[in-house]
Symmetry: none
Subunit: 360 residues, 2 copies
DNA sequence: ATAAGAAGTGAATCTTACT
DNA sequence: GAGTAAGATTCACTTCTTA
């Protein structure tokens, strides 16, 4: 150990990450967090239903001539990253379905040993405006050791206490980076199209490093990794090609005040788990498609569809909407309004929901 | 269309899925759900803190001599699956971090076009007994079209209904398969180590097929796909090597009672409703030639001509073209943009259109 | 000043039918 | 197949504007 002494600590190195990493000593950093280009392959412009234009990622750095070029780039930077990583170090990479399968296969081929894949569930993702796919509401992180059998660091207890004293799971919920945290220029435009939330880096850095250890970020951007590392008393090395990003990152990190005691560094609170949809009750087989629901007094009824909607006459909709419609009320809580028959007795739907609730 | 007639519908074919698929006609199935071996590469036996032994996956079918053999197997079955899939069909594959990156890269290489990656969040995962990693609390599904630009089926409204009328996201929460749903032998042992919950298949099948369409499952196991397909009024083809699994699957599926009314299976989509020309609304006398239409905020207006065109200033055209013109948008849905006055209130043209559409 | 309403926005592989 | 026109489509949150 001890190669850290040769490292340019707490600095941002300007240049291509493959070249710059090649100049760093081998086996010298404790952790690497990488947010490489996703190679989104967007074409044309996308409009919201209100006809406003979506400001998609069209940066030069996300364009590759073809899939083979992206693969070659991926394998090149991963190989350098592996060389620079200590034997007990770990690597994190974040991506989406566009690139993450290629990244994952490449790092397995290079000898990395995957420890977990982690899902960042976005509490406020952008919707799918055309209704042609599922809302893309998550991104994937891969966490890997340098090699099979290595004695990597994992701060199990820290993760457990972050999670109300139950084991931290592989799905993490955070909002996307907005509001005052999002770096903007004087005109209010975002400085970087894909700035990551600090809460995500907080958990990553806390999980796999101790205070004083070194985190390398080869795609530093506007420096989220550096800002969080400094706040948590870790050392960082950033590598970034774009000088405008580098300037923003340096100013941002200069303003960060480290926490006096890293045990005091609380993570932002978790978002509530999503509510139970009536569709989930149908999927779980707790009520069958075709079943008839009644109000408490059996004055009105409706039929359950396989997709969790209700049908009453020619009307179709959610348990809440159909309940409101048939009771003539402006709104309605379908969970308490509608009842199902169980051995001759009417029980509110809420009874079924509560069977799914403890599992959430 | 029509190749379905040559298919061995609602049967389980015994044999290796690559060989068996090779004997099926091309472009003949609407959807494929595949739960291939995960190549877990387990070594040794895992014990819980109380020293009880974890009953892991150690089946022969999950053992491959080396990573290259797993890749070759993956590409072979995916290539056959792609041949058998209709041009408008879609493929689902489920996996974990052990294999999903290799599967994803392979299917991209073969020309499939990924539509989403879907996270199955397990509400009750097995904990990590050693405390050396995050609890592996999810599995990943990839949903892919046969090729880029294909007109695949996606029952958007059905998915939205399942989720209390908000877009279905890419993260789905279900419990793992336990309790009475889990198939067991007389001694109480699990019949299959990785039986998937029916709720998961319910959502998958509802998302990408219509009643009567064909779902192929090349790794049929104990037949979850067949059971759910039958219940939802879809046709299925299962392929499975292990005769014990096949026997269990057949018995299980025989006991399934289909949903009585297949119209219950999905919320109809506006996209597939028959088109109504605005001229038909004028002809039906629902709005008079010369009537004035407004946008929602009364900022712009236009006049209805007897032929169903609109006139605004010197411009004349369809409700859509004039709407786009006056709102400065690249396109416009005239049915929702334009409003007519009814007793002092502005109502969208859509209200008139729905009066001409047959009730369904 | 405050509340209500309108407008803006986020790693996006985002249509379909007819001529 | 290419070109054109019809027409379907959004969630959670923040910030700005108006009453």
């Amino acid at each position: 150990m001890g190669r850290e002494l040769d490292l340019p600590l707490d600095t941002v190195l300007v240049g291509d990450c493959i070249t710059v990493m090649a100049a760093l000593p081998p086996a010298s950093v404790h952790a690497i967090f990488a947010d490489p280009p996703y190679n989104l392959q967007l074409s044309g412009t996308l409009h919201r239903p209100d006809n406003s234009e979506v400001d998609g990622v069209d940066a030069e750095w996300d364009r590759f001539p073809d899939p083979a070029a992206y693969d070659a780039f991926t394998r090149a930077w991963l190989a350098e990253a592996r060389r620079v990583l200590r034997r007990d170090g770990t690597l994190w990479v974040i991506g989406s379905y566009h690139n993450i399968f290629r990244v994952g296969a490449a790092l397995q081929d290079l000898g990395f040993w995957i420890l977990n894949d982690i899902i960042w569930r976005k509490s406020n993702p952008m919707p799918n405006f055309r209704g042609r796919r599922f809302t893309n509401a998550h991104e994937t992180l891969i966490w890997a050791a340098r090699e099979r059998g290595s004695r990597y660091r994992f701060n199990y207890e820290a993760m457990k206490s972050l999670n109300d004293d139950v084991q931290m799971r592989s799905d993490w919920t955070f909002p996307i980076c907005t509001g005052p945290e999002r770096l903007r220029d004087a005109a209010g435009a975002k400085l970087h199209p894909t700035q990551k939330p600090e809460a995500l880096l907080h958990r990553v850095i806390l999980a796999c490093t101790n205070p004083g250890e070194v985190v390398l970020d080869p795609f530093f951007g506007t420096g989220t990794t550096g800002a969080v590392a400094k706040r948590l008393g870790r050392r960082f090395i950033g590598i970034e090609r774009d000088e405008a990003y580098v300037r923003a990152a340096r100013a941002r990190i200069d303003a960060v005040v480290p926490v006096s005691d890293e045990r005091l560094a609380a993570t932002p609170s978790r978002r509530e788990a999503p509510r139970v949809a009536f569709g989930a009750v149908v999927e779980a087989g707790l009520i069958a498609p075709g079943a008839v629901l009644w109000d408490r007094t059996r004055r009105v009824s409706a039929t359950v569809a396989a997709d969790g909607s209700l049908r009453a006459g020619h009307e179709r909709g959610s348990i809440h909407r159909i309940g409101a419609l048939l009771s003539g009320a402006p709104s309605c809580n379908g969970w308490t309004f509608w009842h199902y028959e169980d051995r001759g007795r009417l029980l509110p739907l809420d009874v079924l929901r509560s069977r799914l609730r403890p599992l959430e």
